[in-house]
Amino acid sequence: MGILVDTTRCIGCRACEVACGEEHDLLVPDVINDGALEMQRTTSDKQWMVVNKHETEKGDVFVKRQCMHCYQAACATACPTIAMEKTKKGPVIWDGNKCLGCRYCMVSCPFDMPKFEYGSWNPKLQKCTMCFERLEAGQKPACVKACPTDTLIFGTRADNLEIARHRIYSHPDKYVHQIYGEHEVGGTGYIYLSAVPFDQIGFRTDLGNKPYPEYTKEFLYAVPMVLFGVPAFLLGLNALAGSSKSGGEEEFDPDREGGEG
């Protein structure tokens, strides 16, 4: 499951921010008075999502940002105790009972989404859970339910991609011909449509399409090989090393067998 965000429809009302804060006992912003749209914000340990305003040649574009729920999530791969877990349903969620607080997930996430409670003696990792508990109860995520303009569509990734492609084909001048999250980092649960190039609305376009876990794949695959091969190799060297050598300084003689000490 995933969410399609059509930024051409968003009016910046931030009802999603309010709904998310209320649903999860986090900061509920005062959207009328806090003037938050006048600055660029990022998620924090008190807010799982933010809506930012970007001034572009096609006018103001409002973009909701949160955890992308990647298909090959770097954070879930990084976690030594599976406290960060990519669930079968789609959302990447965090389990406080397992978490060591090592923050390796924060280092690995290409979108810098997990946020840490540095001010707490018992810190949590805070990030969007795609309202996993609501999904289990058969409901939609709180932000999707709260959105008044159908900016957010909750559904399977296949359906969302089809809807997104359909919109691009039907209105080729309205959209940039790219669905952000279709290929990026190997595919993400949240995908985006935009009227302007994505780097103008706060997205990094240099993350590549390679799923991030694959960066550590070769190393981790090599580990059992090393554990098999090296001990035997060292024993072999030990057997060939013969009796203890004095290791004194000798002239380098390329014709002498055995080499130098």
Binding site: T42, D45, A74, A76, T77, A78, C79, P80, T81, I82, N97, K98, C99, L100, G101, C102, R103, Y104, M106, V107, S108, P110, D112, F116, E117, Y118, G119, S120, W121, N122, P123, R204, D206, L207, G208, Y212, P213, Y215, T216, E218, F219, L220, V223, V226, L227, V230, P231, L234, L235, L237, N238, A241, G242, S243, S244, K245, S246, G247, G248, G261
Partner: protein, 397 residues
């Protein structure tokens, strides 16, 4: 049977109490400096555990890993690489010449791993869950961090077993000493294998952070670079610590071995020269492969050149030159420069070039530095206690 065991334990406790008595003056310069630092560090730790990491560190959402992880753990472990190198040379390749420094090097590595893995505990957000990677049913096999947790733990065991004959000798447990001695080769082989994996593993931790680390420091070959540099880091550390130990603990080392020690230093210098030469060319290869000449014309480029030329190429040549001309001073200076180069490299990868594009950069808070010093000073206290009581400077037999 019972009374015999009780009597043995009684003797051992008496022995321990006798050994706990101080062997030197209380007011040495080192003690006077280290004790206040250690006490301050403990106070800082109190605040860290009651008010959270943010109260004592400059860590932030943008910079989740800082000085404790980057220096204490990542750099500290690299500098402890001497043990696997020297045990390889002495026990696997049977080069007796380096016998006399094996014990102290293994002791240093054992203490380093215990203290720096301990330092990791202070950095964890929920250290009471620290055993989770080892127990239970939620093993993150896909995680490099999981691998490192296990390897650190297993290596500590291996290093302890490698050092245990010294403890057995000290406590006069002859039978235990013989058994433990017999385990040496196997443990050494195990330790070398583990070291290869966790030295490179510390580098592998940063592989997924590709978009966040400056291209001059990130490469898919970071694990290999970390492993190769840990070899000469270990050799340089043996030279550095060995030189200091030989002066400070002069009375514990028999005079004959002083000359042999010089031979050892030069032998290590030769090894370091070759390793640094190889490492330098590996960096050059990655530089060419990444077409990185374009990165050289700004501050980061100069910083990179300083690290690679000033703290790798130069000390590498100095090791070779010092060896060839038998100049202890040049070799000692080379080892200091090489060690600084390792520190620089590890810090660059873990937090200096991490998010190099950020507006606000991370730098360690005074509390982070004090706790680091506390850890190092405590380690030296323990080292001194062990070395003045156990036969560490006697050759292994």
């Amino acid at each position: 049977m019972n009374t015999a065991v009780t009597r043995e334990m009684g003797h051992f406790f008496q022995f321990l109490i006798q050994e706990m008595k101080p062997r030197g003056p209380w007011l040495t310069p080192f003690n006077v400096i280290s004790v206040p630092v250690i006490l301050t560090g403990l106070v800082v730790l109190y605040f860290r555990f009651v008010y959270g990491l943010g109260a004592v560190t400059n860590l932030s959402q943008d910079f989740p890993w800082g000085f404790w992880l980057g220096f204490d753990v990542v750099t500290g472990i690299a500098l402890a690489g001497g043990a696997y190198v020297i045990t390889f040379v002495v026990y696997v390749m049977k080069v007796d010449k380096y016998q006399s420094i094996v014990r102290v090097t293994v002791l240093n590595a054992l203490l380093a791993y215990i203290f720096y893995a301990g330092a990791l505990l202070f950095d964890l957000g929920r250290p009471w869950h620290a055993f989770n990677p080892y127990i239970g049913n939620s093993f993150g096999f896909s995680s490099v961090m999981f691998l490192i947790c296990w390897h650190f733990m297993l290596y500590m065991v291996a290093a302890f077993v490698e050092f245990s004959p010294v403890i057995a000798e000290w406590a006069h447990w002859e039978k235990a000493r013989k058994i433990l001695k017999g385990l040496t080769l196997g443990t050494v082989i195990f330790g070398i294998t583990l070291s290869i994996l966790h030295q490179s593993g510390l580098g592998a931790l940063f592989l997924m952070a590709k978009p966040k680390i400056h291209p001059l420091w990130w490469s898919e070959f970071i694990p290999i670079l970390f492993f190769v540099s840990s070899i000469y880091a270990g050799l340089a550390m043996i030279i550095f610590e060995g030189t200091i130990s030989h002066r400070v603990f002069k009375n514990l080392i028999d005079p004959d071995s002083h000359h042999a020690f010089e031979d050892i230093i030069f032998g290590l210098a030769k090894g370091a020269a070759i390793t640094m030469f190889v490492y330098y060319f590996m960096k050059a290869l990655l530089f060419i492969h990444g077409k990185q000449w374009g990165f050289l014309n700004d501050g980061w480029g100069y910083w990179y050149l300083l690290e690679v030329l000033g703290f790798v190429l130069v000390p590498g040549f100095m090791f070779a030159f010092g060896f060839r001309n038998r100049s202890l001073n040049i070799v000692k200076l080379a080892s200091v420069l090489a060690l600084l180069g390792i520190v620089l490299n590890r810090l660059n990868v873990s937090f200096i070039s991490f998010r190099w594009y950020a507006e606000v950069h991370y730098y360690p808070s005074w509390q982070e530095i004090v706790v680091t010093l506390m850890i190092i000073f405590t380690e030296i206290w323990i080292f001194r206690w062990i070395v003045t009581r156990m036969p560490v400077f006697k050759p292994a037999h």
